[in-house]
């Protein structure tokens, strides 16, 4: 097992290196650079001076060598967009996205598993058909459009939730209880968007997994022994059907980081998605490359965890 783990870690390092390299060259081959502002006020001479100061006037291969050296020493560079170190920018944004995506995925997972299981238990019935239809519709909605509709309905028409931001502008002036409630209220709409948009996929996956398990011998035996149907489904069959779902969870968490870009954009949630979108728009080279590195690390880590869980939960794989 240790050998396999070491091999996977080695592969992961190679994957992250390749992704970093691609991100480094792709963002630099896009038109413009961090200092190509659409402003007549900044003269080309000043732009050239700034480029030189950050080394962006050097040949690409020199820039690449410097960047790798810098990353190898633990420095992810300097953000020209935020005028601070990339590490500081990531330290603020990453926890916010992990909180939003993690909580969103957890809720989606709970709801998706419950609904998917109930659908499989009543296969072909009205509950199965109606929820399948509704969840398929939700699953088909583009992220940004779904988030905008939620914003319109709950923040503009009904005005029951705030329309963006991580906290209210007056958050610092609130007593602790109210400040906590303020955080929750700002979390509600982006979280609801993520849950609504991802639950469909999870429930469909869960429904399929359970339908594969239900004809199994041990399920038939349990029924023959007179175990109540609800116990057969929710205890015996679900336990087996959950194994691939937990693997799915490991894979979906990093994938969700990309999916939150639109949600973060619409609700001004200052996480990795918003940071990456702004960094790309302003050609903040170091910040773009760093967000890609973080994304790649999370993806490979998620895959390793998913594999490990798969091995732990399924004895057939261990053998």
């Amino acid at each position: 097992v240790r050998g396999r783990l070491a091999a996977r870690l080695g592969q992961s390092v190679v994957v992250v290196f390749i992704v970093t390299t691609i991100a480094f060259f792709v963002i630099r081959s896009a038109p413009g650079d961090p200092f190509s502002y659409d402003s007549a006020r900044i003269t080309p001479a000043v732009r050239a001076e700034w480029r030189a100061r950050f080394g962006y006037d050097q040949p690409l291969i020199v820039q690449y060598g410097r960047y790798l050296w810098s990353v190898a020493h633990g420095h992810l560079g300097y953000s020209t967009l935020r005028n601070e170190s990339v590490a500081s920018a990531l330290a603020e944004a990453l926890p916010r996205t992990l909180a939003l995506a993690g909580l969103g995925l957890l809720l989606s997972f709970i709801i998706g598993v419950v609904v998917g299981t109930a659908q499989a238990a009543r296969r072909g019935g009205w509950f199965d058909r109606i929820t399948s239809y509704v969840l398929l519709v939700l699953y088909s909605i583009p992220d940004f459009w779904g988030a905008l509709v939620i914003l319109l309905v709950f923040a503009y028409w009904w005005q029951v939730f705030p329309a963006g931001g991580i906290v209210d502008a007056m958050h610092d002036y609130m007593p602790p209880g109210r400040a906590f409630a303020d955080r929750l209220s700002h979390l509600a709409l982006p979280l609801a968007s993520i849950v609504l948009l991802t639950t469909g996929a999870i429930s469909r996956f869960q429904r399929g997994a359970l339908l594969e398990v239900l004809p199994a011998d041990y399920v038939r035996t349990a029924r023959a022994k007179g175990v109540p149907e609800s116990r057969v489904i929710w205890k015996h069959a679900l336990r087996t059907a959950l194994a691939p779902m937990i693997v799915l969870l490991g894979i979906m968490l990093p994938a969700m980081l990309g999916g939150t870009i639109f949600v973060e954009q619409v609700f001004s949630w200052p996480g990795m998605g918003l940071l990456a979108a702004r960094a790309i728009g302003s050609r903040d080279y170091d910040l773009v490359t760093a967000t890609v590195i973080v994304g790649a690390v999370l993806v490979v880590a998620g895959n390793i965890v998913a594999d490990a869980l798969h091995v732990a939960l399924d004895p057939r794989v261990r053998e």
């Binding site: 038109p31 502002y37 006020r41 080309p44 020209t80 914003l151 610092d172």
Partner: protein, 573 residues
């Protein structure tokens, strides 16, 4: 006795109740009764499109940063709302309570207001003026403002409250150059940082100025907070605090303003009828220093010497100008709230001239001109061609600009009617900049729709439309060159008599209009949205925020957040 752990249902109920309390508390929405303070008080929340990249004056490059530094820092003198830039008659004292000119006009002695204090309590001194000029002009700092202060030679300190600014030459706008472009920054705060490190210094992220608002805190992507400097030498502002909340998405900003979560946003999307019917926000129309035009490249794309096959001929440029109905386009895009452009300048410029004669709308005359230039109808589809080459060009524009998108579609249709094919080339803003701005790929376009945002100084037009502005170091994107125009603009910039200054400016404008390097489309009027409880005194064309210290909220209109006292501000706790 052991405590029973809370049941999941109970935890859920507490969470739901807490959330409900948050949603119904309506921090920004409830109205106060008759209680409240006097003339001062209130919290103003500005839903800004993003964070500033810098909050230190020499390095500010974008509008959010410009807003902030104008509130936190001071100039030596303030320009008038008419934005007159010649002489010093219309300027009012700010950090300098008075000034005197040397007989040869090569130096101005500024006497500083002895009451002026930095926000850390230290007095503002003449040494700070000298330091500010050094920071702004030192090549190591690479400030974008440095070229605008190139006429400043040096600063000498007579005593702690008297600074003498020396100029290289006498010009009509030398007073404006220093008063408008230079912010005074404290030497005792920033002087310890090497000039070339100031841009990335952490000190530059916590500005200390002498303006009527003080910097309180900056949480990137969350908020940037200022509060009233109650001991300010120009009096305390009427508002207690100003909070910038960066919100990238315009529709989210719009919702925030329409629901009272924020008090102000620039460039309200979706038309003014929404604001007319809103009980929370109203529109604020601010004519700006921006004008938009369709520019025609006289050279072939990417070339500096090969003539453009279509636009090198002035007859074609004039014909294309006469083929479009600018009035109809303006009404179509802006309704009854648009402002037509009158030439290569915004009407808010002090030297503007509404009598400049532009090529009139006349499709018959346009067709005749195109015929005489050899571009005749004849191809099977009825479009024009010359020696087999179709009269076809592409119009480069940033895809993010809704206004320019609308205009490009209207232009396309009008040109089709006179037999001209226009292809719309919408690209992302960085690509647009790369293809348009001087540099390696300069002039990589046939035509563009461009917005120029000018300084109040008409002399800036020389950079945009003068021969000196052509080349990698210039800002003449259209590479328009005319000896006559250059001479007129030189005479304008050398005229100390305001009347003559304006006369030369008008003649230069007319010459450019006659040469038709562009089609002047519209002057940009900012449609901003402001909460109805805010009393707006006045705005200026170069920025809505210049008199923010005089904006107020009447006691009977104040809501919860307006009643939070200044003593509760984090820095004051």
């Amino acid at each position: 006795m052991l405590m029973r752990p809370p049941a999941p249902r109970r935890v859920l109920a507490i969470l739901v109740l807490t959330l409900f309390a948050a949603c119904t508390s309506n921090e920004g929405g409830s109205k106060s009764g008759a209680s409240g303070g006097g003339a001062t008080g209130g919290t103003f929340i500005f839903a800004s499109p993003g964070d500033p990249t810098s909050v230190f004056p020499p390095f500010v490059t974008e509008r959010v940063g410009a807003t902030l530094i104008d509130l936190v820092f001071d100039h030596l003198a303030d320009i008038s709302s008419a934005l007159t830039t010649t002489g010093d008659k219309t300027f009012t004292p700010r950090l300098a309570k008075s000034w005197t000119w040397a007989p040869d006009s090569l130096s101005i002695t500024y006497s500083l207001d002895p009451r002026a204090r930095w926000h850390d309590g230290k007095p503002v001194t003449a040494a700070d003026v000298r330091f500010s000029v050094k920071v702004f002009t030192d090549p190591k700092a690479a400030s974008p403002v440095a070229p605008l202060l190139s006429n400043v030679d040096s600063v000498s300190v007579k005593d702690s409250l008297t600074a003498v600014v020396w100029f290289k030459r006498r010009t009509p706008e030398q007073f404006y150059d220093v008063a408008y472009q230079l912010f005074i920054v404290p030497e005792h705060v920033y002087g310890s940082v090497p000039v070339d490190s100031l841009r990335t210094s952490t000190l530059a992220r916590t500005p200390i100025g002498s303006g009527q608002f003080r910097f309180v805190q900056w949480q990137p992507d969350v908020k940037l907070e200022l509060d009233a400097d109650t001991a300010n030498y120009h009096g305390r502002p009427l508002l207690d605090r100003v909070i910038f909340t960066p919100t990238t998405d315009p529709s989210t900003r719009r919702t925030q303003v329409l629901t009272g979560q924020a008090d102000f946003m620039e460039n309200f999307p979706g038309g003014t009828s929404v604001l007319d019917s809103s009980k929370v926000a109203r529109e604020l129309l601010i004519p700006s220093l921006q004008y938009a035009f369709l520019g025609m490249n006289p050279y072939a794309p990417k070339s500096n010497n090969q003539a453009h096959p279509i636009f090198s001929d002035v007859r074609v440029r004039r014909a294309l100008s006469m083929a479009v109905n600018r009035g109809d386009m303006l009404r179509n895009v802006f309704g009854d709230k648009g402002l037509a452009a009158h030439g290569p300048f915004p009407m808010m410029l002090s030297a503007s001239d509404s009598t400049v004669k532009l090529p009139p709308y006349d499709t018959a005359a346009a067709s005749a001109l195109l015929d005489s230039a050899g571009w005749r109808r004849g191809s099977p589809n009825g479009m024009r061609a010359k020696h087999g080459t179709p009269l076809k060009f592409s119009l480069l524009m940033p895809a993010t600009s809704a206004l320019r998108q609308k205009y490009s579609q209207l232009l396309q249709e009008q040109y089709r009617r006179v037999g001209v094919t226009l292809l719309i080339d919408a690209v992302d803003s960085k690509t647009y900049t790369e293809r348009v701005q001087p540099g390696l790929k300069a002039g990589d376009f046939d035509a563009i729709i461009q917005t120029f945002s000018t300084d109040p100084s008409p002399s800036g037009l020389r950079q945009n439309w003068g021969t000196a502005g052509i080349g990698p170091q210039g800002q003449n994107l259209m590479r328009y060159s005319s000896v006559k125009t250059d001479a007129l603009m030189d005479s304008m910039s050398a005229s100390f008599d305001p009347a003559k200054f304006k006369q030369y400016a008008s003649r230069a404008f007319q010459q450019i209009a006659d040469d038709a390097p562009a089609i002047w489309l519209y002057d940009l009027t900012e449609v901003d949205a402001v909460n109805r409880r805010i009393n707006v005194t006045q705005t200026r064309a170069d920025g809505w925020w210049h008199s923010l210290a005089e904006w107020s909220i009447a006691p009977d209109k104040r809501i919860d957040r307006d009643r939070i006292p200044l003593s509760a501000t984090p820095s004051a706790r």
